[in-house]
Symmetry: C2
Subunit: 197 residues, 2 copies
DNA sequence: GGCGATTATATACAGTGTATATTTGACCGG
DNA sequence: CCGGTCAAATATACACTGTATATAATCGCC
């Protein structure tokens, strides 16, 4: 708060004339950047809409690296975020999903976007340094204790694998799975098997 | 640190005789609870192994709610976590995946587990209170501004949908997608379409 | 120009992690 | 039993959080 106030040339306490507390400030910031998410429209291919939303969300997260940690530790639905959810659910229900299904789909996609990006942002070494890092830490990955990790590290050192994971890999698995699911007439038996717990 | 030390009946600073700093302490704690994850074996059905690992991971997260926020803000691979990764990659590569593919698969599944559980833990109202919450906030969700969210809230109020999302929904989509993918002989063209960005 | 409301400030407090220096206490060879 | 050694516990202090409270400055308006 002091640092932010300093950037405005004022003291920390004067911020509290415009904002109730730090939490409210963060909510306002989150709603601001949420506007950068590409919201789906009710017409058009839902797969492509979901795809564009997910990618734009991830790009936003990468642009504003402070967002994901705050987003998962704080949910206060401002207008912008509400509009995004409304548009997403709307796109899905107008394409044949029930409201419950739309909720599950949105939740599954968001889980991937959040989880993937958090891992990505948290990873301590940049992709360009993967190979050097693998070479450096290879001696510490005992080939007897961790044979597969050792082999994986060797692949990265040798250049057989660049070590870069793909955001689209999981996203497309989800989208294709949803498409298959939707195309089956008897959904009751083709629902992804739910498991308790 | 003072609180933890107090629980031991000592002062905060004495902890620093056993631990370099708070970060190291957290790493030790994370590695401790990581032992509760069911690690895959190299034999057996990989889908079932991945499924059990994912579910046990989520259950561990729910048991120790402090874990997910720390796990995504800090990665220091202790022995237990290394063993989990090694076993997971090992199970996949011995079932026909390349090392690169195994990395993508593990990453996709972990993304779902992290993202889903973080959303779940962060959600401010308990499932048992969804219906009441929907009824309470319904007036604030304008049916003209947010028609679909309004309709969704009505479904929860009426009991047509209980509002509970399913961890397995996204997980099974991923696992089925992977199975389909693996069963296709010509993988080159059946790879989930990668997209840049 | 003065009044009322908005905005800025000064000061203070309870927290946080931890650096530094000092004291305690347990063990051990003589 | 005695002193020496060394790990473990403590005391104190510092910089840094967010923010409660009380006071002062500033602005718009009649």
């Amino acid at each position: 708060m002091r640092r932010l106030a300093g950037a405005f040339g004022v003291t920390a306490m004067s911020l509290y004339n415009h904002v109730a507390n730090k939490n409210e400030l963060i909510d306002l910031m989150l709603n601001q950047v949420a506007a950068e998410i590409e919201i789906p429209s009710v017409d058009g291919q839902w797969q492509e809409m979901m795809r564009r939303r997910a990618h734009s969300m991830r790009r936003m997260f990468l642009r504003h690296r402070w967002v994901p940690p705050l987003l998962i530790s704080q949910i206060t639905l401002g207008q912008v975020i509400l509009r995004d959810i409304d548009a997403t659910v709307g796109c899905l229900v107008t394409n044949g999903f029930s409201y419950a299904e739309a909720d599950w789909v949105r939740n599954a996609i968001d889980s991937h976007v959040y989880g993937y990006t958090l891992q990505e942002l948290n990873f301590p070494v940049e992709p360009s340094a993967y190979r050097d890092a693998a070479a450096t830490y290879l001696p510490e990955i005992s080939s007897s204790d961790y044979p597969f990790m050792h082999a994986a590290a060797l692949q990265i050192v040798s250049g057989a694998y660049d070590g870069v994971t793909d955001f689209s890999f999981g996203l497309e698995l989800l989208l294709e799975g949803l498409e298959n699911w939707q195309h089956q007439t008897n959904r009751q038996t083709s629902v992804p098997r739910p498991r308790s717990g």
